[in-house]
């Protein structure tokens, strides 16, 4: 008798457990990026954006009563670590979705983990085309399938759980190449990169587009991340008499490279991508006098969008300037929350992705719409220029 009662009670508890979990459980979002290491400032941007978004959503009652909880995951921009933290997020922390990673070289291996486990990942910053274009996961043709169920699951599979809140390097490189050729009217262009997925991808896009407008770079060379002495390279650039130098890479190398160029008396224009969007670029370059006049491509400043005005003010009140990718990360949280609310599913990356693609989201950065591959439909890259005070502004708005 007793054992029978006990069994009944046990089975009741077991049966109700999933429902209990689904109703009261919090929604866990992983924030993956370089929280340590040389790129930690970018990790901080991702974290700050996600943190405020989660806080504001929780204060407004959460997602249908469920609270958001963020988990920090550090990949230090090291590909091997990225894969291991991705595994940890999926398996140990059982996240509902992931924001991150930052460096494309980390995002690509980590994305394969999320794909395998059907977890939605939205990267606010990884711009390399390969992030959303995985060779192993091509779009399948589902029209031949007759079984309705199979067809549905096949079509669902074509909505990639890997999405981004930012543009792509091929768009960014094109923008920069056009600017160099038409606005700067440069003829001799040196293209330098840091051999990393992001930096080299940018440099390759630049070179490819230069070719289509009939220009061949006078120099195409890589430097090593982590080094500080680029004098030999600078002398080499100088010898090519380049009138514009394009650098694909991050601020920690862009700074010293720029400083050494100027110190060796090389006055050519310096153009780079969104990897130098940080105030640390100024100190890495040895002072405001060196960064003055540097051009860079970056998405239209999200701080200026009317939708984000209130959020930007809240950030500034806490003494934090939402620079770089902060608002991108905020918007990514908004997208995840909207998808979970709208689709009624909280785990399946394909379903969330399908909802996002079909509906789009209004974020602090305006309306975001995606294609099924996970790329944003419009990505407004704009050219910025640094001034003598170590601040940047859109070209033509100084």
């Amino acid at each position: 008798m007793q054992s029978w009662l006990g069994r009944l009670a046990l089975s009741l508890v077991l049966a109700s457990a999933p429902y209990l979990q689904a109703a009261g459980k919090e929604i866990v979002i992983g924030v993956a990026g370089p929280h340590t290491g040389a790129n930690a400032p970018f990790g901080l941007q991702l974290w700050k954006g996600a943190e405020l978004a989660a806080q504001q959503i929780n204060e407004a009652g959460g997602v249908d009563g469920r609270k958001l909880r963020l988990v920090k995951a550090d990949d230090a921009c090291v590909p091997a670590q990225a894969k291991s933290v991705a595994n940890k997020l999926v398996n140990t922390d059982a996240v509902n979705a992931v924001i991150g990673h930052f460096c494309s070289s980390s995002t690509i291996p980590a994305a394969s983990v999320y794909r395998e486990s059907d977890v939605l990942m939205i990267t606010p910053a990884s711009t390399n085309p390969r992030v959303t274009e995985d060779e192993n996961y091509k779009t399948k043709d589902c029209s031949a399938l007759t079984d309705a169920k199979k067809k549905e699951s096949c079509e669902l599979g074509n909505y990639s759980p890997i999405m981004r809140m930012c543009g792509r390097d091929d768009q960014q490189g094109v923008e920069a190449a056009e600017f160099i050729a038409t606005k700067l009217k440069a003829k001799r262009i040196a293209v330098i990169h840091d051999k990393d997925t992001y930096g080299q991808g940018l440099a390759d896009a630049m070179r490819a587009h230069l070719k289509t407008i009939g220009l061949e770079p006078v120099l195409y060379e890589g430097l090593t991340r982590g080094e500080k002495d680029f004098n030999a390279l600078v002398t080499k650039i100088k010898a090519t008499k380049a009138d514009a130098v394009y650098f694909g890479g991050l601020h920690s190398e862009a700074g010293p490279l720029l400083k050494q160029m100027r110190e060796q008396g090389l006055k050519s224009a310096f153009i780079s991508g969104d990897g130098i969007v940080s105030n640390d670029f100024v100190s890495a370059a040895g002072g405001e006098q060196f960064v003055s006049g540097v051009y860079m491509t970056f998405g239209a400043d999200p701080r200026k969008f009317p939708e984000g005005k209130k959020v930007v003010e809240t950030f500034r009140k806490t003494g934090y300037e939402p620079e770089g990718y902060t608002l991108y990360s905020y918007a990514a949280v908004q997208a995840i929350v909207a998808a979970i609310k709208g689709s009624g599913d909280d785990r399946d990356g394909h379903k969330l992705s399908k909802w996002l693609v079909e509906n789009g989201v209004n974020t602090v950065m305006g309306q975001a719409k995606w294609n099924p591959k996970g790329d944003l439909l419009k990505s407004g890259y704009v050219m910025y220029v640094w001034d003598q005070k170590g601040k940047y502004a859109e070209v033509g708005q100084l």
Partner: protein
């Protein structure tokens, strides 16, 4: 008498505190913000006070006696009944093999990494522990194995099972090519040359963009088993495992499979090394380590003996590399930095050079510890560094003393 000693101790403690404050004061107390600084003296003062107290307390602990209680004696000779050893071994292997059936995926992946380091430790143990050749570039052979698999797959369609022997062979060959010119060198010079070679291999992988993909790395396919694939959809022309058995797809199966194969490789390696140590070549390695000149005068060919140790170690490193690539799914040069060489060397030395048990234990310890320390988050590498130093101070010969097999006379 007692009083003056107390005063001395207090003075020493104060001195230690002051020194600690001078050391950490600027770095911890003055935080750089742009070109300015922010002063905050609480943490350096706390640390200095802590050092002060610690010095006072440690003054009463007979540190020297703790440190030297484990005297550095010659390797012990042991004889255990083979039945006992075999039984213990089988029990451990069965226990380890049952892990995938109850552990979470996270712990399986941690165990895979740990076992890869066990393999690396076993390989380097032959070179450093048994043959006494200090090798600081061991990671090069690891890289050769890993990239051998990834490149072989990319250009020749090499599969996992083909890559295991190929990787071992290639790494062994590299060992021979690199080893031959440098093996006439001694001690630290050998160490430096191997360090140079290890760095060269990594730099070439990092820079030869057209072939190796540079810092972006290469994809390496996950292992298959007689045409069964462990992914959701077959990508290598096989059949997905879960469809064959009509199971729900679970990404855990792949990791469990890698884990079991890796465990088998580790067991085979341990057995092989145990046998090798009893064979003439193994004895020659140890003899050469102890006294090279004596060996040569007895007619042992030191070059072939050293080379055999070097190649044997390198092959094991290569196998570890293949497993690493297959498990990670891709390879990139950052995984093969000098730090990895140092870590593997630390495994061998901490475990007690030459001791198989020690190497296995310290590899498990060093790779698992950072995972347990995840609670400490940011401090875990710091704690890890302290552990390395403290263990060395406590037991400079490593955690487990090397044992030599010996053959008892009958009736002994």
């Amino acid at each position: 008498m007692a009083k003056t000693r107390l005063i001395q101790r207090i003075l020493a403690a104060l001195g230690a505190g002051i020194i600690a404050f001078i050391l950490v004061g600027p770095i911890m107390g003055l935080k750089i913000e742009g070109y300015d600084f922010v002063a905050n003296w609480t943490s350096p003062l706390t640390l200095a006070a802590f050092v002060c107290i610690a010095r006072l307390v440690l003054g009463y602990v007979p540190l020297d006696r703790i440190r030297h209680s484990h005297s550095d004696t010659a390797p012990r000779q042991t004889k255990r009944s083979p039945v006992q050893v075999a039984a213990l071994g089988v029990l451990l292997v069965v226990l380890a093999a049952s892990l995938p059936f109850f552990a979470s995926k996270y712990w399986i992946s941690v165990s895979i990494i740990a076992l890869i380091y066990v393999l690396l430790g076993l390989g380097l143990n032959i070179v450093v522990g048994l043959a006494g050749l200090l090798d600081l570039g061991f990671v090069g052979f690891y890289a050769v194995g890993a990239y051998g698999y990834a490149l072989g797959f990319k250009y020749f369609g090499l599969g996992f099972w083909g890559a295991l022997p190929t990787g071992a062979l290639m790494a062994g060959l590299f060992g021979a090519i690199l080893g031959f010119p440098v093996l006439r060198m001694h001690g630290d010079y050998l160490a430096i040359v191997t360090l140079g070679f290890g760095e060269i291999i990594r730099l070439i992988l990092n820079n030869w963009l057209d072939v190796t993909g540079g810092p972006n790395g290469l994809d390496a396919p996950p292992p298959t088993f007689f045409g069964w694939e462990f992914k959701r959809a077959a990508t290598q022309g096989g059949v997905p495992f879960h469809e064959v058995f009509n199971l729900d797809y679970s990404p855990q199966v792949l990791d469990s499979f890698v884990y079991l194969v890796l465990l088998a490789a580790v067991v085979i390696t341990i057995y092989a090394v145990m046998r090798l140590r009893r064979m003439p070549v193994g004895r020659a390695w140890e003899a050469l380590r102890e006294d090279e000149i004596a060996c040569r005068s007895l007619g042992l060919n030191h070059v072939t003996i050293k080379l055999s140790a070097f190649m044997m170690g390198a092959s094991i490193g290569g196998v570890a590399g293949v497993f690493f690539a297959a498990y990670q799914g891709f390879v990139s040069p950052v995984s093969f930095s000098f730090f990895e060489s140092a870590l593997v060397l630390a495994i061998v030395v901490l475990g007690g050079m030459g001791s198989l048990t020690g190497v296995v234990l310290s590899a498990l310890f060093l790779t698992m510890m950072p995972e347990f320390l995840r609670e400490f988050a940011d401090y875990r590498i710091l704690v890890f560094g302290f552990a390395m130093v403290l263990i060395m101070l406590w037991k400079p010969r490593g955690l487990v003393q090397m044992r030599r097999p010996y053959f008892g006379l009958r009736g002994n």
